[in-house]
Each structure stands twice: as structure tokens, then as C-alpha cells.
Symmetry: C2
Subunit: 368 residues, 2 copies
């Protein structure tokens, strides 16, 4: 970022560049009634039972510090969830509650990685992975999403400390296959790198293809977010489950940084895990199918298996396409180059009501 | 901390030592009904109007991401508060909302300080200042709390990037005097170091001695916490107000780490700032007076002007005294050496009901 001349900033700050996305936001801010296909959160409201359980917690005085690691009843409920839904067993002692997956990523980077260490990501991947790696001076290696054994064999295991991916993926909706996870687990064993599986979109899995890495590789660090599934991105609740020693280190650092996840919200998390969200997921499956149907033949993309994004190729440069969409159609999209070295992709979010999705798709197709 | 042999940790992690405080916690955890004078939060409940306004926000669907910098109505209300109560003017654009003062400290350290840079603290000071400095490999210089011009003149301004203090102080209740703030401001001007004033205990100011550094030195970064005043330590809400360029850098980094403070809680913060907390403050003034009366002549300490702590000298080593208090009197205290290079002080918290304070003081005096 550009820096104020009056003050001295850390060297890290020179490695954050938000200019591209800011340019898009600045353009978008001038629109009175945009068609929004850029948004990274569900359009539906947080379910009422969660509202009620957070209210109950507030009335019961759950406003003080919780244990740094998070309240035991939520960790116990998560342990049960992992067993029943994710096919792996983990003790509540090896679960850490924090304020969002981003906070957990930050703890992981700070606990495990020194400047010059290496991290393995997929291309494309969630933009915060790349931003944090750059900020903390970590060298990045990339695998294509549909990587094979040949791609893995090219990866240098030296100083490789972390292998990090999200499945279903933001921005592409790609779901990591079992044999791919096994290859990453194998590389983790050979290199000593921690395998980190970001499963924040796990419920948005339209053909039941999603597999938790920890069910195949017990030494995985699983990241579970409440934000997307339950539409509570602003309430800041997530969990990490993994090897005892690393959970302990992250908890120690959390004492001095995050302190704890919002107390009353932690109680709401227990209620959330008991809800049946299948109707919501079905709504987005329909949205995905509509996008695939309408865009096929017009744009080139892989059919997403999950999350609520499509990541197609566009004619020309992504940033120019996104600017043109804003200026000509008041349509908000995200330029793909914040997720990828490719400069000709965009991220389309279909986390929208059917009416807004229709509006967005019509605008996009008109533009093409 | 001691590290798991199976995984590689960052070098930073070897510079966090929580063994001493953990030892105390482990001992304390075995007590069925301890007398708690160790606690860093008010004993009263968060006021009902804040409960209601967070509930209202939840029902209104305030569960999504807020702007990274925080909701504008809260920043506007804070701007008004700073003008009316803290005697300085600052635009809502130069205010950042985050999830607790600890998160703000972390953003400041990451944005401003490189390994080897220097920070000026007081001795004693809040333990997180020392822990973060050590973790990020920052060199620490210390001033005594009642420092004079002679003490300031000994400080080397080279590579000094930050001057950080809390007033009223945790752990001593000391309130920084106007002429001391002027000296720090002068050092800030000479060295280019940012003056950071942590004002989380500002309302617990029993003789109206507290002065906001920003009222004397406009380039100050003011840290304002909601946790202590409104008894909402677990809900994670705080604000930083200061120079535009630094607020912008912190906001940029917050995008990738904290993301935003809990959304519904931000709406509760607006309500909180409208409350009259003087009865609560008066209750702790009485507690302070009772502590001073009962402990005078028995322990050596400076009379605290604010916060809810006393930081007396004890006979022998602090850690042994604290262990003896637990074993003989089921009394929980905090060893002073986590705040100070002195090894013969303890932190007593008087954030308690009159009955519990009486129980604690009796146990402590018995022990002496």
C-alpha cells in the first residue's frame, strides 16, 4: 500500500497491495442500485433459533471473557459434529474457538512460519492466503486445482511448512478429490508441512463429493467457519481442530491477540450446529444449476461442485471486464487476479435470491 | 513455550513464556471456592440497555460483515465522545473499530514495527505489551511510572517507533500526569515514534486526574475499550483514533486478519456510550478506599488513582507469595513479575462486590 510519509511503517506493510480491489470498490460505491454478484456471503438471514440463543446468552450474562480456547460445550458439540458429519474423531481439548477463519489463519501463520519459509497453495485460492503469505514474507508454491501426481512431484519439500487449501473452493467451487487429498497428505508426511483444510463452505456441497482431509490424514488442521453456512459473517465465529501441540501454541498466542471469540456468539454456535440447513443449500444448488445453464457456451468454466461461486474466463483482461460491467451494467463482479496468476477470470457469486440472480445473469449475458 | 517435537514452530513462538501464569492457574483450578482477587474485569453485569440494543441489532439482521473500519454511526458517536469527554477533535474517518484493544495492539505492532525496532514502555505495564514486543522481536526500553525529565533524557531516540502506556494503569492504577504526557509527546516529536495511549480504564478515574494524551498531542493514537467500563470483556469491542495514515494502514491489515468487530455488538457500543456509569465507578472508588485503608501500614504501595488494581510490594518472591496465598487461603492474586522486572510485587484486583472484597482483604491480611 501507499504509505504516509509522516510515519515509519513496518517492511511487511509494503507487501500488502489492495489497490486493485479498492479501485473496483471506489467505482462501485458511486452506483445507486448495483446488481451485486460480488458478495461473499449468503443473501438469507441468520436463522431465528441462532438469534434466540445469542439473546438468551446475553440475558444470562454471557458477556465476560470465555476461556481462551473457547467454551467447552461448543467444543464438545464440534467434536460430535466432526465424528458424525466429517468422519474423524477429535477431542474437545484439540479444538480452538476463534473469531473467524481469518483469525485462525493469522494464528497459524504467526505460530508456524518464519520469513523465508514456504507454503503450498492452489491456484486459484482464497485471496487472504496469498495476502498473509506475502505480508509475512512466506514463499508461495502453487498447484493447479486439478493437480495430479506429476504436479505434486515437482514440489520442493524443503522448508515447506504448510499446505493450505479450501474445499469447496473460494473462488472456483472446486471440491478436492480423495486421491488428491491423499497426495497432499503424503507430501505432508514427507516434508513435515502441516496440512490445513479450510472447510468453511463444507455444507455447500451439491453432489455430496466433499471429503474432510482429517478423515484421511489425522494430522490435518481443519478450519470450520460458522459465517457462511449460518449467514453470520459479521459475528466472527470459527474453530480449528488438529494436532494437540499446534492447537496449544495457537491458544497461547490467542491469549495475547484475539483473546476469545465473542462470548454470547459462542453459545449461538451450539444451536447453529443443531440446525438442518438443507433447504438453504438446495436453494443455492438451484442457483448454481441456473448459472451453469445460462452461461454454458457463453463463458468457459469448470462446473462448480460447491461453495457459491463460478470462476469463468472472460474476454480480455479481468480488471477491464469488471470495470466495463460496473460502468455499462451497474454489475459488480470480482476480478480473478486477486485469487490467481491468471488475468482473464472473474468471480461470480450466486449467493442471491432467484430474482437478483436473474437480474445479474441477464446483465452479464447482455454485456457479453 | 515448550514445543511439540513433532512440528516445526516459528522462532517467534520460542519467545512467548506463559509458564509462570499457567502454574498459578493450574494451582487455582483445583480450588472449589476460591477468593478471587485476580480478575481483570468488573463483577457487575453488562447494563441492560446494551443487552437490548444488541438484541435489537440481531433481530434487525445485523449479522453480516460490517465495513472493515466499523459502522459509521459508532465512529460518529465516538468522535462526539472524544470531543465532549476527552477534549480532542477527531473525524470519524480517523477512527477504526476492532475486536478488543488486544487486536488493535496486534495491528499496531504488525503495521509499524520490524524486528529490532524499539518500543518505550513503563515498568510496570500491561502484560500484553511486553508479550507482543517479545513475540515480534522488538527491543523494549522502560521508564518508571513516575518518571521525570531526567529519566526521559536517558532514552535513546534511535529506531524508537512506539511509546505505549495505559492510564489509568493496569496493574498499578497510576494516572499519567499532564507534564509527563508532554514529555512523552516531546520525545515522540523528536524520535518520530508514535505515542499510543491505552485508555481502556479511563472512566475508573476516582479524583478526575485522567487526561487523554490526544488533548495535548494531536498525533497520538488513542485506544478506547468497551470491555471494562461496560463489563463486556467477552464481546470484543474497542476503537483506535489517531493519525489518518496509520488508521488507514491498520484498516488495510484488519481486512486480512480481524475482518471486523462483531457486527451486532458494534450497535450495542453506540448505546453504551450514552449510559451514565457514575454509580458503578463510585462503587469501585469505595472499594479502592477500603483497600487503601485496610492495607496501609501492612503493605507498601502507591495509592492508585484509577483502574481497579493495587500493586503492592510483598515479603519475599512474588511467585512464592502467590502460591502460598492459594494454598493457605484459597486466595487468587497475580504475580507482579508478569508486569514488571520487580519480583516482589503482586496485583490485587478490587473489581468485586463489597462482600467478596471483605473476604479477600481478610484472607490477605491473615496471610500477612
Amino acid at each position: 500500500m501507499q504509505q504516509d510519509q509522516e510515519f515509519h511503517f513496518s517492511k511487511r506493510m509494503s507487501r500488502i497491495d489492495t489497490s486493485q480491489i479498492r479501485k473496483v470498490f471506489d467505482l462501485a460505491a458511486r452506483l445507486p442500485d448495483p446488481v451485486n454478484m460480488s458478495i461473499g456471503q449468503p443473501h438469507y438471514a441468520m436463522p431465528q433459533p441462532i438469534v434466540h440463543s445469542i439473546e438468551r446468552a446475553l440475558r444470562d450474562g454471557r458477556t465476560s471473557y470465555t476461556p481462551t480456547q473457547g467454551i467447552m460445550p461448543l467444543r464438545e458439540r464440534l467434536s460430535l459434529k466432526y465424528k458424525q458429519e466429517n468422519n474423524f474423531e477429535i477431542s474437545p481439548d484439540d479444538i480452538l474457538i476463534s473469531s473467524g477463519v481469518s483469525s485462525l489463519l493469522q494464528l497459524l501463520f504467526l505460530c508456524l512460519l518464519d520469513p523465508g519459509d514456504r507454503i503450498l497453495l492452489t491456484d486459484p485460492c482464497f485471496l487472504i492466503y496469498r495476502s498473509l503469505a506475502s505480508f509475512f514474507d512466506i514463499k508461495m508454491d502453487f498447484l493447479p486445482e486439478e493437480f495430479t501426481r506429476q504436479d505434486i512431484e515437482k514440489i520442493n519439500p524443503e522448508n515447506l511448512r504448510m499446505i493450505l487449501y479450501s474445499s469447496p473452493s473460494n473462488p472456483s467451487g472446486y471440491i478436492m478429490k480423495t486421491d488428491q487429498i491423499r497426495m497432499l497428505a503424503d507430501l505432508s508426511d514427507r516434508s513435515g508441512a502441516l496440512l490445513v483444510s479450510d472447510e468453511i463452505y463444507e455444507l455447500f456441497d451439491y453432489e455430496k463429493q466433499f471429503v474432510s482431509a482429517a478423515s484421511l490424514h489425522p494430522k490435518t488442521m481443519t478450519l470450520t467457519g460458522f459465517s457462511k453456512t449460518y449467514s453470520m459473517t459479521g459475528l466472527r465465529l470459527a474453530a480449528a481442530a488438529g494436532p494437540s501441540g499446534i492447537i496449544k501454541a495457537m491458544t497461547t498466542l490467542q491469549q495475547y491477540t484475539v483473546v476469545c471469540a465473542p462470548a454470547a456468539v459462542q453459545w449461538g454456535g451450539i444451536q447453529a450446529l443443531d440446525l438442518d440447513m438443507s433447504e438453504y443449500v438446495e436453494m443455492y444448488r438451484k442457483n448454481r444449476d441456473e448459472c451453469v445453464k445460462r452461461l454454458s457456451g457463453k463463458l468457459q468454466f469448470s462446473k462448480p461442485g460447491g461453495a457459491f461461486y463460478i470462476f469463468p474466463k472472460v474476454p480480455g483482461k479481468d480488471s477491464e471486464f469488471v470495470e466495463r460491467a460496473i460502468k455499462e451494467k451497474q454489475l459488480l463482479l470480482v476480478p480473478g487476479s486477486i485469487f490467481s496468476s491468471a488475468k482473464d477470470r472473474i468471480r461470480i457469486s450466486y449467493a442471491a435470491s432467484p430474482e437478483n440472480l436473474e437480474r445479474g445473469l441477464t446483465a452479464l449475458i447482455d454485456l457479453l
